[in-house]
């Protein structure tokens, strides 16, 4: 079997393929910088940072699927609140009496909201932003105020405490269950994306939908699946939220979908679909959690500056992604169309347009 000769990978290819390494370097620099300003930051409270990162991490790994198919879901934080509220209420009423059932209920509720999103989007042909914007309002409205959960006060103490200890106390390798869940979910989804057929189909749909359709991918089902998984992770995050903060109310996590999207985008996921890796998302989520926890301790200003910095961060990450892709494209063009280096026989042709003019 003769294989085509492998050419040396271009700089552009390397830049796009291994985006995680520069990101990892930036993350390391960030950690070192914070540790210099706040001595003992890493030793003392990095476990807390990990705990804080875990909820966003779980949501971001679901969001990755949705962004990969070129869609978006801004109803995740509302889904989180709904699933946490319903599961918490069921626990308080005594319907659910084991932690495993809690997780099952949360995931189920989240998955059904996500599936509804996906159905409306793929079979109803509505823009993702419209569906999820509407859905986030619908979902939040479904959380009645009298379900306000002060679990530590009125709930059945045994189970709630058991649930809380299970999630937060130091377990295997001195890490709490919360962190373990946040570590396992991205690994599972990452492996799934990389090694299963459906996972590759998700990339195919994202990079070119009509090509994927011609190739035999059932685009609608893939989209439905991606949204269902995203909803399910948001539901799981709701249960984690319940264990971590011990209370959920109507406005819980409002606006957190931005940080979920920011974690993905910071990790190099393209918001137009087709490109993104789980490793990047994990680093992105960790970076956001670090910044979140470090800003109040750094005392660079009022706590209000956090909002501002997060906005800058999200915007910067999005624009940085575009810049990287453009640079990669330019390098690639220079390599292919450069002076006589082309071996494809097209050296006399005009180089393609530099940027879209329209």
């Amino acid at each position: 079997m003769q294989r085509p000769t492998q050419t040396k990978p271009s700089l552009a290819f390397l830049l796009v393929r291994y985006r995680e390494f520069p990101l990892l370097a930036v993350f390391a620099l960030l950690l070192i910088g914070v540790n210099l300003r706040i001595p003992g930051y890493l030793n003392n409270n990095y476990l807390n940072v990990l705990k804080g990162a875990s909820i966003n991490m779980v949501m971001a790994s679901g969001m990755l699927l949705v962004l990969l198919i070129g869609s978006i879901d801004i109803s995740v934080s509302a889904t989180l609140a709904l699933s946490g509220a319903i599961a918490g209420m069921l626990m308080r009423e005594g319907v659910i009496d084991s932690s495993a059932l809690m997780f099952a209920a949360g995931i189920l509720i989240g998955a059904s909201v996500g599936a509804l999103n996906g159905l409306l989007m793929s079979y109803g042909r509505i823009l993702p932003i419209i569906v999820t914007l509407g859905m986030s309002y619908i979902t939040r409205a479904l959380i009645p105020m009298d379900w306000l959960l002060g679990l530590n006060k009125i709930a059945r103490i045994n189970l709630t405490d058991g649930f809380k200890t299970l999630l937060l106390d130091r377990g295997f390798l001195t890490l709490p269950m919360l962190v373990w869940i946040a570590a396992v979910v991205p690994v599972i989804i990452g492996l799934f994306l990389r090694y299963t057929r459906l996972g590759r189909d998700i990339y195919a749909v994202g990079s070119n939908e009509s090509a994927a359709r011609v190739r035999g991918v059932r685009v609608e089902r893939v989209k439905l699946f991606a949204h269902t998984v995203c909803g399910a992770t948001a539901g799981l995050a709701g249960i984690l939220w319940l264990g971590y903060y011990n209370a959920i109310e109507k406005s819980t996590a409002t606006g957190d979908e931005m940080f979920t999207i920011a974690a993905c985008v910071l990790g190099g996921v393209s918001v137009t679909g087709g490109y993104g890796k789980m490793t990047g998302v994990v680093i992105g989520a960790l970076m956001i959690a670090t910044i979140n926890s470090a800003i109040p301790q750094l005392r660079i200003g009022s706590s209000m500056i956090t909002e501002f910095i997060k906005g800058i961060l999200l915007l910067g990450a999005i624009l940085l992604n575009v810049a990287v892709r453009r640079t990669a494209g330019r390098l690639e063009r220079a390599r292919v169309w450069g002076a006589g280096t082309s071996n494809s026989g097209a050296s006399g042709a005009e180089p393609p347009a530099k940027r879209r003019v329209m």
Binding site: G134, S302, L319
Partner: protein, 367 residues
């Protein structure tokens, strides 16, 4: 069937459907009102013309923003940062006014300068969106404005320092409240805001449906490439429309100041972008661009107002249930517009457009 459709062409329009919908809603609410009165639950009828007109007031606040959003949707783009840019304009108004009066400036010019800065900052927010959207074409306007929303709110928080600015005993600043007053015409208390809204609505109707520059917005939304090669300056139109949308958000902010008894907060007007998008979409502006009419938007604003008044007073729904109904209407209506495609939503094209569409459906390669 075809002849029937041709004859009914001018009537079978999205706007006519909206009129029917409005009539249906009014009939249902009226029945409910009458039955409540008969059951002795309320002493007087709470749902009549005068009460609707008076009650429309809080739901007219985002009407200006809707006019801006409409233009963005007509281009096939979306701007979900309008609520945040309105909040930033609001913060600018408060901070500029407070700063100038503290510096010893008389109140009236300070207020005028503050309003100018408010409009300016709204325009700048929109222009920033427009610049990013035209400069970074790889990205959807959705994701850009999503990020900008966070950014604008962040700046508003920074400006206000997280607190609330109030000008309670300031007669000059309180004159903004006049914008939220009503005037008695006959026995009906008509909100002043209705007149303020009528002016831009009329201008926008004539402009986007009747002039070349307005029709170009729709051309851009229908087929961007085609518009570009026909000599439409797509980038420039897009930039200015986003700027205009930001300006309309700032106008909303000014009226909002009047409505909230002159207290200024950075988290004001959260979710207004949803209302604006929902109203524009119900008015016939498809999210994929190129469709819609201003009369439809005006009708849909009235429908939303009537729905909220009715659901609130007659059925006792809480605010969140009203939000729920807005969400349902938004999704259901987009579904209807996308799947049905029966009613033409443009203005002044009527039956011809319908025929073209039917023809296009027979030959799907034109899609």
């Amino acid at each position: 069937m075809r002849t029937v459709r041709r004859a009914l062409g001018p009537i079978l329009r999205w706007e006519s459907m909206l009129v029917v919908l409005l009539a249906l809603i009014c009939i249902v609410f009226n029945q409910r009102d009458a039955s409540q009165q008969a059951a002795g639950l309320s002493r007087r009828d709470v749902f009549n013309f005068a009460s609707i007109i008076r009650g429309l007031r809080p739901y007219m606040l985002y009407s200006f923003m809707t006019l801006g959003m409409m233009l963005i949707l007509a281009m096939g783009e979306i701007d979900i940062s309008t609520g945040a840019s309105a909040a930033l304009s609001l913060a600018t108004l408060g901070v500029v006014y407070q700063g100038l009066t503290n510096a010893g400036m008389p109140n009236v010019p300070a207020l005028i300068l503050g309003l100018a800065c408010c409009l300016l900052s709204g325009g700048i927010c929109g222009a920033l969106n427009g610049w990013l959207v035209t400069r970074f074409k790889e990205l959807y306007s959705m994701i850009i404005t999503l990020a900008m929303q966070l950014f604008f709110r962040g700046i508003a928080y920074l400006l206000l320092g997280g607190g609330t600015l109030t000008f309670r005993n300031d007669p000059v600043f309180d004159s903004l409240k006049k914008l939220y007053n009503t005037v008695a015409i006959g026995s009906v208390n008509v909100p002043v805001m209705l007149f303020w809204f009528a002016a831009p609505a009329l201008v926008f109707t004539v402009w986007i449906h009747g002039t070349v520059s307005g029709r170009r917005i729709f051309a851009l939304g229908t087929n961007r490439a085609c518009a570009y090669f026909s000599g439409v300056r797509t980038d420039s139109i897009q930039f200015w429309m986003f700027a205009l949308c930001g300006l309309m958000s700032a106008v909303t902010a000014i009226f909002f100041t009047g409505a909230t008894s002159s207290s200024i907060r950075a988290d004001a007007m959260g979710g207004y972008e949803l209302y604006a998008i929902a109203a524009a979409v119900l008015g016939g502006f498809s999210t994929s661009g190129g469709k819609g009419s201003v009369p439809g938007v005006v009708l849909s604003l009235v429908i939303f107002g009537v729905m909220k008044i009715g659901l609130g007073t007659l059925y006792g729904f809480a605010d969140s249930m009203v939000n729920l109904s807005v969400g349902v209407i938004l999704i259901a209506n987009t579904l209807l517009l996308g799947v049905g495609r029966f009613f033409p939503t443009g203005w002044g094209q009527g039956a011809r457009r319908l025929r073209i569409k039917r023809g296009a459906a027979l030959h799907p390669q034109g899609e």
